[in-house]
């Protein structure tokens, strides 16, 4: 007996449906899965300078200018620009056809509002806006900046590669108070954020922005054409690093943004995986509290330099030798355009506990308790704190390592008393010049925790940003660094390279210090 066709069709459909339910929905979109460095919890890259938020910014926003692989600033959203002979009047024209991810056109007024918000928040933005007399939209695609005083690195600031990046947003969003988080996520970048699929603490989803207009030039660093070659990117946050490593090596994830340093040998040995580290790397910071005795005395801060052997710190943090820079005494990074050895000579001999002890005595230290804020994680900061504690003890200092989680540390260090030293680090792009290096500020209450206060240092920083000539700027950099070694806003505990790991099924991955997802193809 033959079954009726309709009945057979129904059975076949039911079987297929059951199979689909059992096996799962077919997924045809090419998706990159990345284990991000942390949980994306704040969506506003202007309000929050965290690197995970910055990375989110690079997914959905675009910039007026961007840095190429050689560190040269190139136009991005800008088509053309002009500067007057006295370098005080700047005019910019946006590229034709730029659109926000909701399909509306990008206007010059949007860019002006975005720059104003960034200028109210960012370290270098504040410097630039202090020099700006007027900034206004001329028409829909042109805007102008008029400086009231000379400012050298205008384009460098507009193309600043790291936190806070001057990302462009629609005017209505950019009108938000810079200390308040934006409520919409509309950008003109290569991807669009899928808010409906966002699970904070677990998953962030981006899809290709259909309205994005890439530049014609090939990708080059953060500049050039941001051509998206996949349909979807998922950031899958995995808090347990062992699980993250196993999932990555098992092929469940394509990119492991920042594997802990002690995983580097395992990943290097895996033939399915490639590692790529930002060539500029990161700089470790030991920050003394300039308001708390004995570190209110520069001699005590200079003593800290004699406690530091950079190799010791980086080894404690787990970095293999290939991922550590040899001792680097440049405040503005070794390998950067502002690398200098000025003022470093007295400390070139490395750790000298006797000298440290002597300087501490000269600073009036009489055995009072020194509190080192010691976090349980992140690993680099935790290891650095332990090394400092050991070295202080060896130098005869009465030291107390106060253990705490990172959030508590942030709250503790925001208070002006009750602590003497904490450790952190920053990516090279946020360190490499006096205009972007937040911890080089010595403007007292306005400086980040530690509050260095030195008018000469501030004058030199102001002179640096006012100078347009590169060779003259180099001279100022040397003077500035000499002064920094006298004042010691912080002690550099080493330059190191934290690689990003990705599977060999990916090609076109850009090694720019930010996990950008354009230009990548997945086999």
């Amino acid at each position: 007996m033959r079954m009726p066709t309709s009945f057979r069709t129904s059975i076949l459909s039911a079987c297929l449906l059951s199979a689909t339910v059992f096996i799962g929905q077919p997924v045809f979109a090419v998706t990159i899965h990345m284990i991000p460095q942390g949980d994306l919890k704040i969506l506003d890259p202007i309000q929050n300078p965290g690197y995970i938020t910055r990375n989110h910014g690079y997914m959905i926003y675009d910039t007026l200018f961007a840095q190429n692989a050689a560190g040269v600033i190139k136009p991005q959203m800008v088509e053309a620009w002009k500067v007057s002979a006295d370098k005080k009047s700047w005019s910019f024209k946006l590229r034709d056809g730029l659109k926000w991810s909701d399909g509306s056109p990008v206007r010059a007024a949007d860019c002006v509002a975005s720059l104003k918000r960034w200028g109210a928040k960012d370290v270098s933005g504040r410097l630039l806006f202090a020099a700006i007399g007027d900034i206004k939209a001329v028409d829909a695609s042109n805007f102008s900046i008029t400086l009231k005083e000379p400012f050298g690195p205008v384009l460098e600031m507009l193309g600043k590669p790291s936190s806070n990046v001057p990302f462009m947003m629609p005017e209505r969003i950019a009108a938000t108070d810079p200390n308040e988080q934006i409520k919409e996520t509309i950008g003109s970048g290569p991807f669009a954020f899928k808010r409906d699929e966002w699970v904070p603490g677990s998953k962030v989803v981006y899809v290709k922005n259909p309205h994005y207009v890439p530049r014609k030039e090939p990708s080059d660093g953060l500049a050039g054409g941001k051509v998206v070659k996949v349909d979807r990117v998922e950031w899958n946050y995995i808090p347990d690093q062992n699980t993250a490593l196993t999932a990555f090596r098992n092929g469940e994830m394509d990119i492991y943004e920042l594997p802990p340093a002690d995983f580097i040998p395992t990943l290097t040995a895996d033939t399915n995986i490639k590692l790529a580290a930002d060539p500029l790397g990161n700089q470790g910071w030991l920050r003394p509290n300039h308001l708390a005795a004995p570190f209110d005395n520069p001699k005590a801060r200079q003593a800290l330099y004699y406690l530091v052997n950079q190799g010791e710190y980086l080894a404690a943090a787990g970095f293999p030798e290939a991922y550590r820079h040899k001792t680097c005494m440049a405040y503005f990074m070794c390998g950067s355009v502002n690398e200098s050895s000025a003022g470093a000579a007295p400390y070139g001999g490395g750790k000298d506990l006797e000298k440290a002890r002597k300087l501490l005595q000269e600073a009036g230290y009489k055995g009072e308790k020194i509190v080192v804020l010691t976090p349980s994680e992140p690993p680099v900061q935790a290891a650095a704190a332990m090394v400092t504690v050991q070295n202080l003890k060896k130098a005869g200092v009465n030291v107390e390592a106060q253990a705490m989680d990172w959030s508590t540390l942030l709250a503790r260090r925001a208070k002006k008393d009750g602590w003497h030293i904490f450790h952190t680090f920053s990516v090279g792009a946020d360190v490499f010049s006096p205009a972007v290096n937040a911890y080089a500020q010595a403007n007292c209450d306005k400086a980040p925790s530690g509050w260095p206060c030195d008018s000469k240092l501030e004058e030199l920083r102001a002179a640096w940003v006012a100078e347009g000539d590169a060779s003259k700027r180099k001279t100022i950099t040397d003077e500035l660094q000499k002064r920094m070694y006298e004042v010691v806003p912080y002690v550099n505990f080493g330059q190191f390279f934290q690689p990003m790991a990705y599977r060999k099924t990916l090609s076109g991955v850009l090694n720019v210090g930010v996990p950008v997802m354009w230009n990548i193809e997945k086999k």
């Binding site: 689909t20 339910v21 059992f22 096996i23 799962g24 929905q25 949980d39 919890k41 704040i42 969506l43 309000q47 929050n48 300078p49 965290g50 928040k121 370290v123 936190s163 108070d177 200390n179 308040e180 988080q181 409520k183 699970v199 904070p200 603490g201 677990s202 998953k203 899958n236 946050y237 995995i238 808090p239 347990d240 062992n242 699980t243 993250a244 196993t246 999932a247 090596r249 098992n250 469940e252 705490m404 989680d405 990172w406 959030s407 508590t408 942030l410 709250a411 503790r412 260090r413 925001a414 002006k416 952190t424 920053s426 937040a438 911890y439 209450d445 306005k446 400086a447 980040p448």
Partner: protein, 312 residues
């Protein structure tokens, strides 16, 4: 019905006390979300402005009554970091936690009750000793050790299951169960051990009763004797243990969620505590406290089903 109404009304003062204690503990503990939002480069002035926009600079009683006012209107507030409604964040995380808890308990009960019954029936034999040994081993091994071992064996080595993540049932039964299998086994072993021990000891007690001897003398089959007569009378402590187990699971599932990167309530709680996301922590505690009270109530009501002498 009167009893039920009284129990439900009794929830209100419990939740009020929980709310006050949690609010005070959180706000008096060190930590400040404004400094986390401000980041490494924020000045004291920046941080103060952020505190102002979040309302964190207002006096504590004012903040408390503002929050209570919202809760009374059914609004748990908004996360200070994500800007998402707390209720939405909790809802996103409920499904994985409920599935893990339910399947873990199902796994534990399915294996533990027969194991406990048989161990009691065969008390003193090698089988009983084997079950006791397994129970002790399951108790002694931490969940994360079992989890990593299972991942090594079944994910890395055999490739049968994914290492991490969660798939909803709507993504298909296959992916759903493949993602949950290892978390459920690693989390369930300890409850299986607990329940097996409890079942064995209560069954042993019941099996020594006169009516069991009588039933056996009447020629009742062993399965009927064990399941109909002995187990039913041993059920009250077992049900209590299951109830306690479910309540413990809701808070204890955090380890399983962390090892297998499952976005459940446990991980949301820890993440929120670490970053001092006050509204989210307060919301979770309120919801969890309510869940505990409901589980206790349901457990109490179930006693009546197994033992008709218990009436409220």
């Amino acid at each position: 019905m009167n009893y039920l109404l009284k129990r439900i009304l009794a929830v209100i003062p419990v939740l009020a006390v929980v709310a006050v204690i949690v609010f005070l503990l959180l706000h008096l503990a060190p930590g400040d979300p404004a400094v986390i939002i401000g980041g490494d480069t924020a000045s004291a002035e920046d941080i103060e402005r952020i505190r102002q926009t979040l309302g964190l600079n207002r006096p504590l009683p004012e903040q408390f009554f503002h929050w209570v006012g919202q809760v009374v209107q059914g609004n748990l507030g908004t996360s200070v970091f994500t800007g998402m409604p707390v209720a939405e964040m909790i809802m996103q995380r409920v499904e994985p936690t409920l599935w893990i808890s339910a399947l873990t308990m199902l796994f534990a009960v399915t294996f533990a009750v027969p194991m406990g019954i048989l161990a009691a029936w065969k008390a003193g034999t090698w089988f009983d000793r084997a079950i006791s040994g397994l129970a002790v081993a399951s108790f002694s091994l931490p969940v994360f050790v079992i989890g990593y071992a299972l991942v090594y064996g079944f994910s890395t080595h055999l490739g049968w299951f994914p290492v991490q993540g969660f798939k909803s049932l709507s993504d298909g039964f296959g992916p759903f169960i493949r993602h949950l299998a290892l978390p459920v086994i690693s989390g369930g072993l300890i409850y299986m051990a607990l329940l097996a021990r409890m079942t064995r000891s209560t069954m042993l007690e019941v099996l020594g009763e006169d009516y069991i001897r009588t039933a056996r003398a009447k020629g009742l089959s062993t399965p009927r004797l064990l399941l109909r007569h002995a187990l039913k009378n041993a059920a009250v402590p077992i049900v209590t243990t299951i109830g306690l187990g479910i309540a413990m699971l809701l808070s204890g599932v955090i380890v399983t969620e962390s090892v297998f990167a499952i976005p459940g309530i446990g991980r949301l709680t820890v993440d929120s505590i670490l970053r001092r996301d006050y509204p989210v922590i307060q919301g979770i505690v309120l919801v969890t406290a309510t869940a505990y009270v409901v589980i206790n109530l349901v457990t109490d009501l179930l006693y009546g089903l197994f033992d008709p002498r218990i009436r409220y």
